[in-house]
């Protein structure tokens, strides 16, 4: 039943499970082929009013119907060119707030779909993206005609992709989001219920949708098509969705107490140094004139916001979940559209995952920025993580043509803290060593000492 694309199309790595169609790339543009088996569902989506409602509320990407750019295969019904999304992010790179908003969007889509006699046939977190700050659904072919009585085929997937990780982050440890890297179809419910503290099941929603659900899953494991499942009326279906919504809304995580969340309030900078650095960064970005920027070690996004004034989009990375969460809350509150906060451990960035390492792309392969900001960052990588400066330079050179980077010498209080409990095995960590290491991959365009500190800000351009 799955269609086989012709050799002239390159389907994206993750697009092979749904027989309704597939996503492919052609000359740098993303297209979606609609197969003939989905024709009547597509017609219902477009004529029922659901598509108009979702697009007008900015809940679903808009698309246009186009001529197929290559020779189409026999299954072909239509070709769509959806709104393009320059940077794709994955759920294991999000913060708690982003995953929660993605969950609530999925439930809202289902709620609105039911009003038009349609329903979601999957509920995967990979169908949601954040191109303009807020979540939006990208899989137009997820909607199918609703048949009264039929249980929700995506219920298991919703609970595994959204409810289980959110509950684990809220009730056990925020770092458990990392389980989504291992379990690409969401966290198995028996694993989630095993990890959650017993107190979390005083919450009725978690008791039903996770614990009871897990019990029935293990009881019916290995069976084929369910024998005579009870029909689910439309009202019961609506109640199920409403209850999931209430359960998700009640899950909260407050960002505090992690290492860098308090960074800006106990800052070692004097105000003069901070202002000078901001002026320098602004000046460099104005000269470079980027379309997009990556801010590595962004903390809560101070410099990302400077960059966002000067370019179209910024991805704002940090290793501390509390910082990413605070950054995202500011994006939500101020309704910012150019900043995407992301969780990233630069020393262990997202690898290629899934079938043939090809379904979910590595971070480096998604690099599309014109400039990378690496401010107050290098000492963490070089000293705390023992990565030699030449290796750091080589990796940063793969990410973007321009680099604005801050070197913090050993005399600085922050570096002294890092060296306080360990032997100084970093003879190469000096201004000379830094300039030599980076000079082989980059041309140093300018150098400025940051007033009131020993730190130096560089602007560099990758050598061709």
């Amino acid at each position: 039943m799955t269609s086989t694309p012709t050799m002239s199309e390159q389907p994206v790595g993750a697009s092979f499970r749904d027989p309704s169609g597939f996503v492919f790339e052609h000359e740098g543009q993303i297209y979606r082929q609609v197969n003939s088996c989905y024709a009547s569902d597509y017609a219902a989506l477009m004529s029922s009013g659901l598509y108009e409602e979702l697009v007008s509320k900015q809940l679903l990407v808009s698309h246009e119907e186009v001529e197929p750019p290559t020779r189409a295969c026999p299954e072909h019904h239509l070709t769509l060119r959806p709104m393009q999304i320059p940077f794709i992010s994955y759920p294991y790179e999000w913060c708690f707030g982003q995953l929660k908003d993605a969950a609530l969007l999925t439930l809202r889509l289902q709620r609105l779909a039911l009003r038009h006699d349609m329903s979601l046939k999957d509920a995967t977190a990979y169908n949601i993206q954040f191109p303009s700050g807020r979540p939006i659904m990208i899989d137009t072919l997820s909607f199918e005609r609703y048949e009264e009585g039929r249980p929700w085929v995506a219920y298991r997937q919703f609970c595994q992709h959204f409810l289980a990780p959110l509950a684990l982050m809220a009730k056990r440890d925020v770092r458990l989001l990392g389980l989504l890297r291992v379990h690409l179809d969401g966290i198995p419910l028996d694993l989630a219920t095993g990890l959650l503290p017993w107190r979390s099941f005083l919450n009725r929603g978690l008791l039903l949708h996770l614990r009871l659900h897990a019990r029935y899953q293990s009881r019916h494991e290995g069976e084929g098509a369910p024998a005579r499942p009870r029909p689910l009326s439309k009202q019961a279906f609506t109640n199920l969705i409403e209850d999931l919504r209430a359960t998700v809304r009640k899950l909260e995580w407050t960002p505090h107490g992690t290492e860098w969340a308090e960074y800006t309030s106990g800052d070692s900078y004097e105000t003069q140094a901070l202002e000078h650095k901001q002026t320098l960064v602004r000046g460099h970005l104005k000269d470079i004139g980027p379309t997009s920027a990556w801010d590595l070690g962004a903390n809560t996004g101070v410099y990302s916001r400077i960059a966002a004034d000067l370019c179209e989009r910024v991805v704002s990375f940090d290793i501390d979940p509390a910082c990413v969460e605070r950054n995202y809350r500011e994006v939500r509150q101020a309704k910012e559209e150019r900043i995407l906060p992301q969780w990233l451990d630069l020393v262990n960035p997202s690898p290629g995952l899934g079938w043939a390492h090809n379904e979910r792309d590595s971070l480096a392969s998604r690099a599309e920025a014109d400039v990378v900001l690496a401010l107050a960052l290098i000492h963490h990588i070089a000293i705390s993580n023992n990565v030699p400066l030449p290796k750091i330079a080589a990796f940063l050179a793969t990410l973007a043509p321009h680099l604005v980077i801050e070197f913090i010498p050993k005399g600085d209080p922050k570096v002294a803290t890092l060296l306080a409990t360990r032997e100084d095995v970093f003879p190469g960590y000096s201004r000379e060593g830094f300039e030599a290491a980076f000079g082989s991959c980059f041309e140093i365009v300018s150098t400025h000492a940051i007033s009131g500190s020993d730190r130096i800000l560089y602007r560099m351009h990758r050598r061709s």
Binding site: D122, E144, W152, R204, Q217, A225, P229, L232, F237, L240
Partner: protein
């Protein structure tokens, strides 16, 4: 949790009645590409019924509160409005 238990007492009788009539086969089932999980399919009607108690409870308490003049905080979430 206590509210849930109280309302459950008043709802189990009608539920039992529903159980007697709700066992028809939904007929020809379309197979989705996604594995829904047999257990997830089977348990949904039960969970939906129990969830319905929660929905009713919340409605019930909102009405009581409005009769007593206690304001219910409005849903001011711009990303998840009620879509009336």
């Amino acid at each position: 949790m206590v509210r849930f238990a109280l309302v459950a007492l008043f709802v189990t009788l009608p539920l039992a009645a529903w159980g007697a009539i709700g066992s028809e086969d939904p007929g020809q089932m379309r197979l989705a590409y996604l594995d829904p999980g047999s257990g997830s399919f089977v348990v949904q009607a039960l969970i939906a019924a129990l969830a319905g108690i929660g929905v009713t409870t919340r409605l019930y308490w909102t009405k009581i509160k409005s009769m007593l003049g206690i304001a219910t905080p409005a849903n001011d979430d711009d990303l998840d409005p009620d879509d009336e």
